[in-house]
């Protein structure tokens, strides 16, 4: 297929996944800040949300203070933020339009429909309830998109590129949540887990929609190191770094087989999967959770670059 | 007179280009006033030069190079034997009837100012030849040679408004004016052996040709205020500077492009002055 088409499919999925991740971050932050304890906390949760979204510089250029109004506006609607939810959905539709013929009708319907519905939310003077409806709409759209892709796409290169975009973005989103919140997960906090910490931990789970999964997997009360384990190494958890790389390796192998040729992106992804496979949470905590996450984010970006270099330009 | 030309075009890219493609109108043809003794084009990268003839009969080459390329040199080296024909161009290859050269282009459109200038200049001249001579002289006198304010994409109208420019601008103003007066005219790119002995030049030369019913094509060099002589080496013709451009290229990828051109025009066999 055309490199540009593959590139658009890759970014279409990335943009949809990104919109979904932002919606979850905003949702979790809204809940966390609605608690009375939050005001006694030492961190500004709105600041954290901006950091998790990875757009601190752009935010500071546009606003003086991080609060509910400014962060919600910036992450969800702002035209000044190229990676706002609205812009992600707009860009996703442009990506889709550019490769209409590589998508199934069902996928187009979802994206085009979401784009039309997006016009109903102008972002101004929204009540919390209205905003919650907006977030629900975004999450529904990404679910419907994934569902339509899963159910209708041929299992060929187009499908694999769409999965790769989705997985790279998803791994990045999970890693960023960990990057911003790693301190509340450190073992030192173990004994002093007050209610505030508890809310922080559950908030992390909520931001990856894993509250229920956690209990199914561990059958335990919420413990910070288990939260870290769930998000990093647990392959049952579809948002974990290990699960993302298990699937990325698979789809990259599918591509290599399909084209009869493999390259840098296959090698790098396999190396990352091996590294995750051979890690334990003890080792990760010992050598530094923060450093581990930082190097993961950098390597994940590099693999995205390798995929682009190999197939998309 | 035997003239030796060495012309080098160098592209440098800060960020190496992934590939580059170039179209060259750098090869002169013979006509009654000039004979090409030897001529060679050399490209710094491995590539194949595909020759073809463009719409106006110019010898053209295209080539593509695979990157990464951080420097691309296109060198021309050759000798041409020339004769003074008082500007009359005979025996040139013609692919179109002269009337085609009444066709306007964006770069050679006569705006109101050029139209008025052309009409004013034409007054008093007895015939078309006289009008063309008058045009040549008046453009030479009216404009100031100045390489700063104009560039490759400057139109005749823009340059005329400034009353400044380089040989390209002089030639395009001539072409625009001549066409406005109903005389077919075209743009010529080539080389010029300077009378002052200065061998190293910053660029090639450009002038114009006008078609007169009794003489055929006659070459006018408004930047020097004279008809073409044996000091002129004629390389390519076109409707405007773009159509006769010595080099047109594009690259894929890369960035920070810088272009350097050196031209040496000397009498063959003479020691270079600088």
């Amino acid at each position: 297929m055309l490199s540009r088409a593959a590139d658009n499919i890759f970014w279409l999925s990335r943009n949809i996944e990104r919109a979904d991740a932002l919606a979850r971050i905003l949702d979790a932050t809204h809940r966390l800040t609605a608690l009375p304890q939050a005001s006694a906390g030492t961190t500004n949760e709105w600041q954290s949300a901006v950091a998790t979204a990875g757009c601190v510089t752009a935010f500071q250029a546009a606003y003086d203070e991080a609060n509910e109004r400014t962060v919600t506006e910036f992450l969800a609607f702002s035209p000044a933020n190229p990676a706002s939810i609205r812009n992600c959905l707009e860009t996703a539709r442009s990506n889709a339009r550019a490769v209409r013929t590589a998508l199934t009708g069902e996928m187009w319907d979802v994206i085009n429909g979401a784009w039309h519905r997006l016009k109903n939310f102008d972002g101004r003077n929204m009540t919390r309830e209205e905003f919650a409806r907006f977030l629900a709409f975004v999450k529904e759209a990404s679910l419907a998109f994934d569902g339509s892709a899963f159910r209708t796409m041929l299992r060929n290169d187009a499908y694999w590129f769409s999965r790769l975009g989705f997985l790279i973005e998803r791994a990045d989103a999970t890693a960023r949540i960990l990057d911003v919140k790693y301190h509340v997960l450190l073992p030192a906090k173990e004994r002093v887990g007050g209610p505030l910490d508890y809310f922080q931990w559950t908030s992390i789970l909520r931001s990856v929609s894993a509250r229920t999964s956690y209990h199914w997997v561990y059958r335990e009360s919420v413990k910070p190191w288990l939260v870290a384990d769930l998000l990093i190494l647990n392959r049952q958890m579809p948002r974990s770094l290990a699960s993302c790389y298990e699937n990325m390796s698979r789809y990259l192998d599918d591509l290599a087989q399909f084209y009869g040729r493999q390259g840098n992106s296959q090698r790098l992804a396999r190396a990352m999967l091996t590294r995750l496979d051979n890690s334990t949470m003890e080792e990760i905590f010992q050598s530094g959770l923060h450093e581990f996450i930082g190097s993961f984010i950098a390597e994940n970006n590099r693999i995205g670059g390798a995929i682009a270099e190999q197939y998309l330009v | 007179m035997r003239i030796r030309v060495a012309h080098e075009t160098v592209y440098r890219y800060e960020l190496p280009a992934k590939s580059a493609i170039q179209l060259l109108r750098l090869t002169p043809r013979n006509h009654d006033g000039q004979y090409v003794v030897r001529w060679r084009i050399e490209v710094s990268e491995d590539c194949r030069l595909d020759p073809f003839e463009d719409a106006f009969g110019n010898l053209t080459h295209s080539f593509t190079v695979d990157g990464p390329v951080s420097e691309l040199r296109i060198g021309v080296d050759g000798e041409v034997e020339t004769q003074d024909t008082h500007g009359v161009v005979r025996g040139s290859l013609e692919r179109f009837p002269p009337s085609l050269y009444l066709r306007g282009t964006e770069l050679t459109r006569a705006d109101a100012a050029i139209a008025a200038f052309a009409e004013e200049t034409a007054k008093g001249a007895e015939d078309a030849l006289g009008r063309m001579h008058a045009l040549q002289t008046r453009i030479y006198e009216t404009l100031t040679f100045d390489p700063d304010p104009t560039h490759a994409a400057t139109t005749a109208a823009e340059a005329f408004a400034l009353r400044r420019g380089v040989c390209q601008d002089y030639a395009q103003i001539f072409v625009a004016s001549a066409r406005h007066l109903g005389v077919p005219a075209r743009y010529v790119s080539g080389y010029f052996l300077r009378a002052d002995g200065k061998v190293a030049q910053e660029a090639g030369h450009a002038w114009a040709e006008a078609h007169l019913s009794d003489l055929g094509w006659v070459a006018f060099d408004p930047a020097n205020g004279i008809c073409a002589t044996e000091a002129h080496v004629r390389v390519a013709v076109g409707l405007d500077s773009l159509g006769a451009a010595p080099v047109r290229g594009a690259r894929f990828g890369g960035g920070g492009e810088r272009l350097a051109v050196t031209v040496h025009v000397d009498q063959a066999g003479r020691q270079s002055q600088n």
Binding site: M1, L2, S3, R4, A5, A6, S94, R97, A98, R100, T101, G105, W108, D109, N112, D157, F161, L255, Y259, R261, Y311, L312, V313 | S19, I21, L23, R48, D50, F52, D54, A55, F56, S62, T64, D66, R95, F96, P97, S99, L100, L102, R103, G104, A153, L239, L242, R248, G249, A250, F252
Partner: protein, 477 residues
């Protein structure tokens, strides 16, 4: 006062005595029976389908309406088999003559020597491409795809209003209109024998493959070249690519190496043999045409001239379809084919000729004045509908630059029943059939795009001016 200037239009459904013409009998009966709310409902459904599949077009200079829906009229236009076969013969003749003319202009120039067309009209035409001079295209086919706009006037005679030999659009509407009609009104198709149009895309692909360069492999690679998603006809480009099963490429997807065109794919470079290009000549190759074009492919013209790739339509075909050349079409048909034209030409005054200009200035209020190179209904004067100020404005324009204009009588375009606010009423229509020309044959699918002026009394059918579209049925007996 203007009413006496308006000639009576040919009614495609009713004969002058009020009876229904035979091709329309079944439709008329059906329209009599079907309740209005059912029609309303189906019309809304059609609109919904159009919106959902995203068939939109862009309007020049209207940023806020970047994607607008074209109004679809659910009442089909019907042509009897006999009417169509005469029209089809006329179209084939017309396109053969256009192609022969272009071939001659860039080749032997017989028609210029014989003064069939004035040299000036060719050489000073901005869309004449000197670069094509002497360039031989495969099988001498220049106009692979033509859209010929025809109207019916007087007693239903077909007249050509405009030839489109560059990149005519609208064929996706022809196909989608039929698709939607089949979905919404299956019962109507069961009592009409409508000739199918669906084979168009197969015919188009076969046409493209038939003109591949001699250097192409046995199964040539065809692509469609689009300016991109912001082009007004982008939907059509992607629609056709999908139906043909070929790649829809943008300029940046292609590159030229050693005079061969390649596309960048996930598996590396792949050779391209035939490009159905939907971008204008000016933008094709920045090394030859506009240097600032980002839509084209540097080096494409070199590859084309080296015979390594076919462009459809050929470069420079616009020299045959401006409105000044149009006026010479009857002579062009006779000169190249030695035949009388089957389709009529609308009487045209060429303002570049002083006698014609004089007539036009004297009768401005009765005439339609068009720019020689205009299209889409822009820059047009409809004399009888214009106010004094507009007339004066055009009078000045005509005097300033007469060669830029032609004038024609105000035509009473034929009318068809159409569904409008107040119910079913006659509205003026035109028709654009699509003609394909390959290495060895001409193919015209029975039908075309009928455009309808939905505003009462309006004669402008262009979608950019509020016109709508309707399905066109050719009955196969």
């Amino acid at each position: 006062m203007t009413s006496k200037l308006e000639p009576v239009a040919f009614d495609e459904m009713h004969a002058p005595d009020g009876s229904v013409r035979s091709a329309y009998v079944a439709l008329a009966n059906w329209l009599d029976q079907v309740p209005k709310d059912v029609l309303d409902y189906r019309r809304r459904e059609a609109e919904y389908i159009f919106r959902r599949i995203g068939i939109t077009f862009a309007v020049h200079g209207q940023a806020e309406a970047q994607e607008r829906l074209i109004p679809f009229d659910i009442i089909p236009r019907i042509l009897a088999a006999k009417e169509w076969s005469r029209l089809a013969r006329g179209l084939e003749q017309r396109v053969k003559a256009l192609n022969a003319y272009i071939c001659d202009i860039y080749g032997k120039r017989d028609s210029l020597r014989a003064a069939v067309v004035p040299e000036e009209l060719v050489y000073r035409n901005p869309v004449f491409r000197p670069e094509m001079n002497g360039h031989k295209v495969p099988h001498d086919v220049y106009v692979h795809i033509a859209g010929i706009d025809v109207v019916r006037i007087d007693s239903g005679d077909f007249y050509v209003l405009e030839d489109n030999t560059r990149t005519p659009s609208g064929v996706s509407y022809m196909l989608e209109n039929r698709e939607i009609m089949l979905r919404l009104f299956p019962e109507l198709f069961s009592n009409h024998r409508v000739a199918p149009v669906e084979s168009y895309t197969d015919e188009l692909l076969a046409t493209m493959k038939s003109v591949a360069p001699a250097t192409a492999p046995g199964d040539p690679t065809v692509v469609i070249l689009t300016p991109g998603i912001y082009n007004s006809a982008y939907y059509e480009h992607s629609f056709l690519a999908d139906k043909l099963g070929v790649e829809l490429v943008e300029g940046r997807d292609l590159f030229v190496k050693g005079n061969v065109v390649y596309m960048r794919t996930t598996e590396g470079p792949k050779r391209v043999d035939v490009i159905y290009r939907r971008i204008d000549d000016d933008f094709l190759d920045p090394l030859v045409f506009r240097p600032d074009s980002l839509l084209g492919v540097p080096g494409l013209m070199s590859a084309y001239q080296a015979g390594q790739v076919t462009l459809a339509n050929a470069v420079g075909t616009g020299v045959a379809d401006d409105k000044a050349v149009y006026s010479y079409m009857p002579q062009i048909v006779k000169f190249f084919l030695g035949e009388e034209p089957i389709l009529k030409n609308v009487r045209t005054w060429r303002c570049r000729e002083p006698e014609h200009l004089k007539y036009v200035l004297e009768h401005l209020a009765e005439l339609v004045v068009k720019e020689v190179h205009g299209s889409g209904g822009y820059g047009m004067l409809i004399g009888p509908k214009a106010d004094a100020k507009t007339l004066e404005l055009f009078r000045e324009k005509l005097k300033q630059d007469p060669a830029n204009f032609i004038a024609q009588p105000t035509l009473a375009l034929s009318t068809c029943p159409s569904m409008v606010e107040e119910g079913i009423a006659p509205r003026h229509v035109d028709l654009r059939p699509f003609v394909l020309m390959g290495s060895d044959r001409v193919c015209i699918v029975p039908g075309g795009l009928s455009r309808v002026a939905l505003t009462k009394g309006s004669l402008v059918v262009n979608s950019s001016q509020g016109g709508g579209i309707k399905d066109t049925w050719v009955l196969d007996r």
